[in-house]
């Protein structure tokens, strides 16, 4: 089935949820509201003829620097593929800045678990119903979400864990641990 056709059927099925359908280089993206994302994806996965059973990718997008006023601040992008039918579709769920959260789809695809954790970690979008919504790539006590557009490329201070480590090195050096430079100085 053509991607455009699937998008059309999806719109017919959920008319108030689909905001827009756009196409680029033959790939079709469907902009949707976030409320019924689980139902929509389940419909895409389970409907005969669709069978979008492979979640290729899930990631968050920050629209802050895009000059398209119709878009909300955040998006979660689901790239779906059907292994038996060999067609694909992209779902872009809009998420407002005030309340960055969306329902988790880890009940549909167990593999979405870590994708969603990564999205939460780096983009700060939390997923309702996810069992283990914790940071995954960054340390637990990290401040901020690096992939947001306002996040600076270089911070003013070290991460607290690094400070702690440096402090530990300093105290250990008092006891002569791993202090090759001092030893050289003593020799000369």
């Amino acid at each position: 089935m053509e991607s455009m056709e699937i998008a059309g059927r999806l719109q017919a099925q959920f008319p108030d949820q689909v905001l827009d359908i756009c196409s680029f280089h033959g790939q079709v993206g469907v902009l949707i509201q976030r409320q019924q994302v689980v139902d929509m994806l389940r419909w895409l996965r389970d409907t005969p003829g669709m069978q979008m059973n492979h979640l290729m990718d899930l990631c968050g997008v920050d629209n802050a620097k895009k000059d398209e006023p119709t878009l909300q601040r955040f998006e979660v992008v689901y790239n779906l593929y059907s292994v038996p039918e060999r067609h694909s579709l992209r779902i872009r769920a809009q998420i407002p800045e005030e309340d960055p959260c969306i329902d988790s789809i880890s009940s549909l695809w167990a593999g979405a678990d870590w994708h969603e954790r990564e999205c939460f970690d780096l983009m700060g979008i939390s997923f309702n119903g996810h069992e283990n919504m914790k940071r995954i790539l960054l340390p637990e006590d990290w401040q901020g979400h690096p992939l947001r557009k306002e996040y600076p490329l270089k911070g003013r201070e070290e991460w607290s864990g690094m400070e702690e480590l440096l402090h530990k090195v300093e105290t250990l050096q008092q006891f002569g641990f791993n202090d090759a430079q001092n030893q050289d100085n003593e020799k000369t």
């Binding site: 280089h25 290729m56 992008v77 790239n79 695809w109 167990a110 992939l147």
Partner: protein, 409 residues
């Protein structure tokens, strides 16, 4: 099972309740293939709960890519799956070409297919080596490295680098292959089938190997798909999903090859899949060599390669971006390139390597997301390892074929 009772550990209560024995494997551990940490809760040696922790190698490629031109990001892809780096380079270039609308000459397509398959062989050889070592067969490790060395020499002949190639360019490849390279590759194609048989005689019919792999780490096809497994791990469970067949890129649509499928979804099935893939890759290589068309290897519209100005020459101060061996010049103005988003995936040795790009028309990606197979494969580890033994966990990590550089990005 009791725990060692010492003055520092808390003494377990003696009311017959079994406390799980918690064991932190990694990030420094010989069998976790890099800096993976797995927290285990054990009952004896049976795993009650297994929690992988990643992120020790997180370098923030997504963020870096947003602040560099497309060509500058290319070198980052070397550092993803550093065992088969060429496949990442090709995957990235294919994605950027589709996004920005560059075309690729035929000859470059064939060369790319060739190097992709070479890196697949490289990666699978290293996988076999470490997987066998994990299970305790030491000799296979060194045999595989012997063959991998030949391939790395070939890569060196091709582009001067052995691990981090950055050989493909957006719009082609950097330079043409030499006669010597083709001759050597022919030799490899004839040499390798015998060598693959050699590995198989060492381990394939070995009773201990079979005992360690058959029926261990079983996954059904549906479950593997739901977990997001791709590549040989998914095909071992019998799901026919190979991007080279489903969405052919480069010259794969011209190639005649088969996709080996397993049925049991256990460690042995994944092992068999990869061994067959080695043979299929050799087949593809032979076809590439036979069918290699003449012509240019870099599209004339591709971004130019600019050699840097040297500080001491009369050109004066080098500008801040021109260092290294040469950079690819992108038009820096806005609105030259099409704006939009695209998801392109390629069949990397480990599985589906996908790039999701959003372009806003400038020379820099607005957003890049890498869908790395290793990341998803590690997330499947708790499901697979639950209820099995420590030794099986090690075998499972090996058979999932994870590289932490790719997982953490």
């Amino acid at each position: 099972m009791t725990r060692p009772v010492t003055k520092t550990l808390e003494i377990p209560v003696a009311d017959g309740e079994r406390n799980p024995y918690s064991l932190k494997m990694g990030p420094q551990h010989p069998a976790t293939h890099g800096v993976l940490r797995v927290d285990l809760e054990l009952d004896g040696e049976t795993i009650l709960k297994c929690t992988p922790h990643v992120g020790y190698l997180h370098r923030g490629f997504d963020k870096i890519a947003e602040n560099r031109t497309y060509a500058q990001t290319l070198i980052l892809t070397d550092r993803l799956d550093y065992i088969g780096a060429m496949a990442n380079n090709v995957g990235y270039c294919v994605a950027v070409e589709q996004l920005l609308g560059f075309s690729v000459p035929e000859r470059a397509k064939y060369i790319r297919t060739m190097v992709c398959e070479m890196s697949r062989i490289c990666s699978h050889l290293l996988w076999l080596a470490t997987h066998a070592l994990d299970i305790g067969a030491m000799t296979v490790f060194l045999y595989c490295f012997r063959e991998r060395e030949i391939l790395l020499d070939l890569f060196e002949e091709l582009c001067g680098a052995r691990l981090t190639f950055s050989y493909p360019r957006i719009g082609g490849v950097r330079q043409d292959v030499t006669r010597k390279f083709i001759d050597e590759l022919q030799r490899v194609i004839h040499l390798f089938p015998g060598r693959i048989e050699e590995y198989e005689t060492l381990i394939d019919t070995n009773r201990i190997w079979l005992k360690r792999t058959v029926g261990i780490g079983k996954l059904s096809g549906d479950k593997a798909l739901a977990l997001g497994l791709t590549g040989p791990c998914l095909r071992g469970s019998g799901v026919d999903y190979d991007i080279r067949k489903h969405r052919p890129y480069d010259a794969y649509d011209q190639m005649d090859f088969e996709v080996p499928l397993g049925s049991d979804g256990d460690i042995y099935a994944r092992y068999r899949c990869r061994m067959e893939e080695l043979r299929q890759s050799l087949r593809i290589l032979q076809q590439c060599v036979d069918m290699l068309p003449p012509g240019p290897v870099l599209d004339k519209d591709a971004p130019d390669l600019v050699m840097p100005l040297h500080k001491n020459t009369k050109g004066g101060e080098a500008d801040s971006t021109s260092y290294g061996t040469g950079i690819i010049k992108f038009m820096e103005e806005q609105g030259i390139y099409p704006a939009g988003d695209i998801y392109v995936s390629t069949e990397a040795p480990k599985g589906e390597l996908g790039f999701y790009f959003i372009s806003d028309g400038s020379a820099r990606a607005y957003r890049m997301h890498i869908r790395s197979p290793s990341f998803i494969h590690i997330s499947a580890l708790p499901t697979i390892a639950q209820g099995e033994l420590i030794a099986d966990l090690i075998a499972n990590i090996g058979s999932l074929d994870v590289v932490i550089g790719e997982c953490d990005r």
